[in-house]
Symmetry: C2
Subunit: 308 residues, 2 copies
């Protein structure tokens, strides 16, 4: 009987000017998963901690198990099975790629236990399947950074092409305010048409941002972290968005934006101290308004899932 | 009495997915300018060759002289003047940045004769002024590559920020069909709103294209040379666009697109031989339809304007 314990990271998708195409992983928070391979077919969810009973235990409906079942089928390894214990160490529905982290943890662990038949790139479609089950759409901008670590660019969806970008040596400050912004709602308020001049501004920024990662010009990175299309609409769903942004920028943030479809907000800093100060000030401001929040501070994750 | 002779390159702007933000310079064609500095104020256009009498000789209305007059005023050097002889060695109104090349040649030559008081970056606004005089809008996507050489990204217009990207070792094939597509008309047929999903596709491609230049992955560059927004509309103004594209791609082009606002089309190749073959086949096809054309084949220009 073989067993393994793994960690998979939370991710920031829709990175400002990179709506639907740019994401990155963080070292904190993330999910932990214990898995054992068994000789009897089937994927069994033994326990889930930290989900407040919200995640389905039915293997065909749970993101983690469903994507592993697909993997086993594809590999023709339906002779074996797995027992899973998932520890959700991050909030769900927060815009931090919770379902992606779980799916990636499961696929990574299963692939390791099976003797690594697939590369990380080959695991991507299975993780996207899991994501589709959880969110109703199979976008890769959380899944890809969770799987590869670092900054990942989804160059195109059809055919699926992922580019791993250079990883900036920066600190990411995350604040998850305890308000409810379902992914589906956040998608529905976005307009289907945008002004060409705004699109041009956006592609100047995303092109500049990619350049800044290759040249390690983090001031340029900051100047490119502007979103004239999605943020003006989605930020109205997030309490005190403009005031939090002002606090972060006032503390030296290179840029500030919505993580995924929110309500978590993120900012990037050169200085860990400034990042911490910014998080504390934002949290104190929300506290005064009676809004609880979680805060996280870490470097950009470079490894994706790891064996613990 | 000091004099100088300079060359400034033609440029490809609106590089496929980089509408309004991405341009590059070519070694051929380009403009030549002879200039002498004189002790009497005023900029005098002694002669213009190759313009079929179309360019104004009035110094206040000519792109070259007007931008030099601005420069002298800004520098407080209205005590001196210049005599100019311009040799247009490229077609005008062709989508090859003809007015930019002339303006850049003039400013570069004047700056040299004055003892280089300004950097190339500092010359950019004066060149944009000249461009505005010629085209009715002060876009920088022809001017910047003509001035700096290579691939240039206009990260933003307000404030103006230009990023010089790595220069690919590729061959550019240009074909200018002798049909009339005024810049103003080409601008007017573009819709002011675009689908968000198309904008997302476009920014995935521009981000991937920038990445490909840093990693010298020219196959990726080719996969990113797709324009789902402007090309479908503007290509209808260019005779045999789809057939020319098919010929170029069939000969191994990495990508194919409209140069500036047309009617010139460009394609990028790894092989000079394939580029030449493609140009000859396209030209032969247009000949059969009674459409004359100019063809040019060169590497990407790395230097911008040079002293001859």
């Amino acid at each position: 009987m073989k067993s393994i314990k793994v960690f998979a990271p939370a991710t920031v998708a829709n990175v400002v000017c990179g709506f639907d195409i740019l994401g990155f992983a963080v070292n904190e928070p993330g999910d932990e998963l214990e898995m054992e391979m068994i000789d009897t077919p089937g994927v069994n969810i033994i326990s889930i901690e930290g989900d407040e009973g919200k995640l389905p235990l039915d293997p065909s409906k749970n993101t983690v198990s469903a994507s592993i079942i697909s993997l086993l089928k594809k590999l023709g390894r339906e002779d074996v099975g797995f027992n899973l214990k998932l520890k959700k160490k991050m909030p769900m529905g927060s815009g931090l790629g919770s379902s992606s982290a779980s799916a990636v943890a499961g696929l990574f662990a299963a692939n390791e236990l099976l003797g690594k038949p697939l590369s990380r790139l080959e695991l991507l479609p299975f993780a996207m399947e899991g994501e589709a089950l959880a969110c109703g759409h199979g976008h890769a901008d959380n899944v890809a950074p969770a799987l590869f670590g670092g900054f990942t660019l989804i160059k195109s969806y059809d055919p699926l092409e992922v580019i791993q970008l250079p990883v900036p040596k920066l600190f990411c400050a995350l604040l998850y305010p305890h308000v409810d912004v379902p992914t589906r709602d956040a998608r529905q308020i976005i307009r289907s048409k945008v002004l060409l001049k705004d699109a041009v501004t956006q592609w100047g920024n995303i092109a500049g941002l990619v350049s800044s990662l290759y040249t390690h010009d983090y001031d340029l990175l900051g100047r490119c972290m502007k979103d004239v299309i999605i943020e003006p609409i989605r930020s109205i769903l997030i309490p005190e968005f403009d005031n939090m942004k002002e606090l972060a920028m006032g503390n030296g943030a290179l840029g500030f934006g919505i993580s995924g479809s929110g309500p978590t907000v993120f900012s990037l800093f050169k200085s860990k101290e400034n990042a911490r100060k910014s998080l504390e000030e934002m949290q104190a401001m929300l506290n005064k308004l009676g809004i609880d929040s979680n805060i996280y501070l870490s470097e950009i994750n470079e490894k994706g899932p790891v064996i613990l």
